[in-house]
């Protein structure tokens, strides 16, 4: 069971799309030459889900073998963690909570201002720590009940999209994915295979 990525976004109510504040990845379980594509896909998946998550809401969206756990806070700070299907959801949300709280307290006045590069060493060490849910579970059990927010669970990205939106168009228009990733997605779909990266 593993966490692939943890990405923090800034998404105040007056802006159209969420902006990435900081991102960390653990792609060691993928082949060397697939890693950049996996990272792109992780950012794409996370931002698509965050964009479709309402304020003060939690959402878990599954796609093939991975689940994106997303949380949008009341003030616009949002976090998304992509884990595989074995990683316990409760620990995943505790992880997202923790990185968001830590980030907000470290950069309290600064994170909602325009483009800045943030230091990711804390994020990286948290990601590494949480790769073993057993060892962190004792800490997170104290925080047993995540506040009363109900968690929406979805089986596919498509179910998270709004009416009329299609995943194909989103991928085509995306600036995050490189041309070859898009091409790969198109050919995989034509041949009716599931994307190997996913």
């Amino acid at each position: 069971m593993k966490i692939i990525s943890a990405i923090l976004f800034r998404w105040p109510s007056d802006e159209k799309t969420p902006k990435v504040l900081a991102k960390v990845f653990d792609v060691s379980s993928f082949g060397f030459f697939q890693r950049s594509t996996v990272k792109q896909w992780a950012v794409f998946f996370s931002s698509t889900i965050i964009e479709r998550t309402k304020t003060s809401q939690r959402q878990s969206v599954a796609e093939n073998d991975y689940i994106c756990h997303a949380f949008v806070r009341y003030d616009g700070l949002s976090g998304a963690a992509i884990c595989d299907k074995e990683y316990p959801s409760r620990v995943a949300f505790s992880f997202v909570n923790k990185i968001m709280d830590d980030f907000a307290s470290k950069y309290s006045k600064v994170w909602d201002k325009e483009n800045q590069k943030f230091d990711t060493t804390d994020l990286e060490s948290d990601l590494e720590k949480f790769q073993d849910p057993k060892s962190v579970d004792k800490l997170t059990k104290i925080q047993k009940e995540l506040d009363e927010t109900k968690i929406i669970i979805r089986d596919t990205i498509e179910s998270a999209l709004e009416r009329g939106e299609k995943l194909d168009t989103l991928i085509d228009r995306s600036e995050i994915l490189s041309n070859s990733s898009k091409q790969f997605y198109r050919t995989a779909k034509k041949q009716n295979q599931c994307c190997i990266i996913l």
Partner: protein, 401 residues
């Protein structure tokens, strides 16, 4: 560089450089990297797509010209050319059986180096862990050259390295049928103490704990256990020790991850095995209504087994086994019901309990043990708390004696 030079450079790189992984690159994505025409850094070989297709085409055309050559009568120069050509084809198109067969002939005639071939096969597998032809070729090489001449190298060490390779391939591509069957085959060539210690306790334990819903790992453990039990020199004590370790491991995982079906299936196997290899005793009057205890003691399972001093045989207390299963199922079902993350696997613990009761009643009938009613009463009491599984309950039929 023209195509012939690229082709020769490819052969040279594979033989001289240290590589542990290769992959296909789209040049557009990596404008900053140095292609010469290959990308080779930190032991990773990247081959641009256009180059791959041109090398493959060139090699396939050349191979056709060598149709009539016999590997025993030809001169070395021609055979070296065939070596270069078939290497390129094997890399880029493992479906071309002619190339593989040529390499087999070259190996048998000792024209190419076996260790180098195994290394190259490993590099191919890092990109295509699912290609059956590569696994079959590897198995062929080991069967024909290594298992037949075990004096050349330390066989046990070699096998452990092979297990690492299989583990790596299973990690990149989960539920990889070929790498698991290969692992199964080759681990059976380990000596038994090594097998139990390395495979069950060291290598695979971590795997199981971090891949809880991957049933291939558990299936592998089951086949190892079966294989060990088939060996004539394994005593009942060692068998029970192995099983109890496994049951404890499964137990600890279940109380953390009760919603994973593969763990419950594995438990069914363990339960069956445990009952099959031991004699069974059943004490009706020992069935009591136990309160659910949240502290699971490792040693509680050990007390199921008792030695009959006169006959020197071991037997298990079936009633205690069932009580433990009921307590476990109760705990897991409560965990699932109280979680915010409800899903369709919510009835797994209860279905397991029903399976246990069905099996146990049948087994007790076989052995003429009496006490079905007691078990059913106890299980019924637990079931009343969980209304849904009455659907399963209706399918449960038995004859009261």
């Amino acid at each position: 560089m023209n195509i012939k030079q690229v082709f020769l450079k490819f052969y040279q790189i594979l033989h001289q450089e240290k590589i542990n992984e290769w992959g296909i690159i789209d040049k557009q994505d990596f404008p900053n990297l140095n292609f010469d025409p290959f990308y080779l850094e930190t032991k990773k070989l990247g081959i641009p797509l256009e180059i791959m297709t041109s090398i493959h085409l060139y090699a396939t055309k050349k191979l056709i010209k060598f149709k009539t050559i016999n590997e025993k009568s030809s001169n070395d120069k021609k055979l070296q050319k065939i070596d270069q050509i078939t290497l390129a084809i094997m890399f880029f198109n493992p479906l071309n059986y002619t190339a593989f067969n040529w390499r087999r002939k070259l190996l048998l005639a000792r024209k190419i180096n076996l260790k180098k071939e195994l290394k190259i096969n490993k590099i191919c597998l890092t990109k295509d862990p699912k290609r059956s032809e590569l696994w079959i070729f590897r198995k062929w090489m080991i069967l024909n050259f290594i298992l037949n001449n075990p004096n050349d190298l330390d066989l046990q060490q070699f096998i452990l390295k092979e297990l690492n390779l299989s583990g790596y391939c299973s990690e990149i591509y989960p539920r990889n049928y070929h790498s698991w069957t290969y692992r199964n085959w080759i681990s059976k060539h380990l000596s038994i103490p090594n097998l139990i210690h390395q495979e069950l306790n060291q290598n695979m334990k971590n795997w199981i704990q971090s891949h809880v819903s991957d049933y291939s790992g558990m299936n592998h453990r089951q086949s190892i256990i079966n294989w060990v039990f088939l060996q004539e020199n394994s005593s009942l004590e060692t068998k029970n020790a192995i099983l109890i370790d496994e049951i404890n491991l499964n137990h600890n995982l279940l109380i953390q991850f009760p919603e994973h079906e593969s763990l419950w299936h594995h438990r069914k196997f363990l339960f069956l095995k445990f009952l099959n290899i031991n004699q069974i005793q059943f004490n009706q009057f020992l069935i009591e209504n136990q309160s659910v205890s949240k502290n699971f003691d490792k040693d509680t399972i050990a007390i199921y087994i008792e030695k009959d001093i006169f006959n020197q045989k071991e037997f298990i207390h079936l009633d205690k086994v069932i009580q433990n299963e009921i307590v476990l199922v109760d705990y897991c079902q409560n965990l699932i019901n109280n979680s915010q993350f409800q899903n369709s696997k919510a009835d797994l613990p209860i279905s397991y309990l029903i399976w246990v009761s069905q099996f146990v009643v049948l087994k007790m009938k076989d052995l003429n043990l009496i006490g079905f009613d007691e078990i059913l009463k106890l299980i019924n009491k637990k079931m009343e708390k969980f209304p849904n599984p009455k659907i399963y309950w209706n399918s449960f039929t038995f004859e009261k004696k």
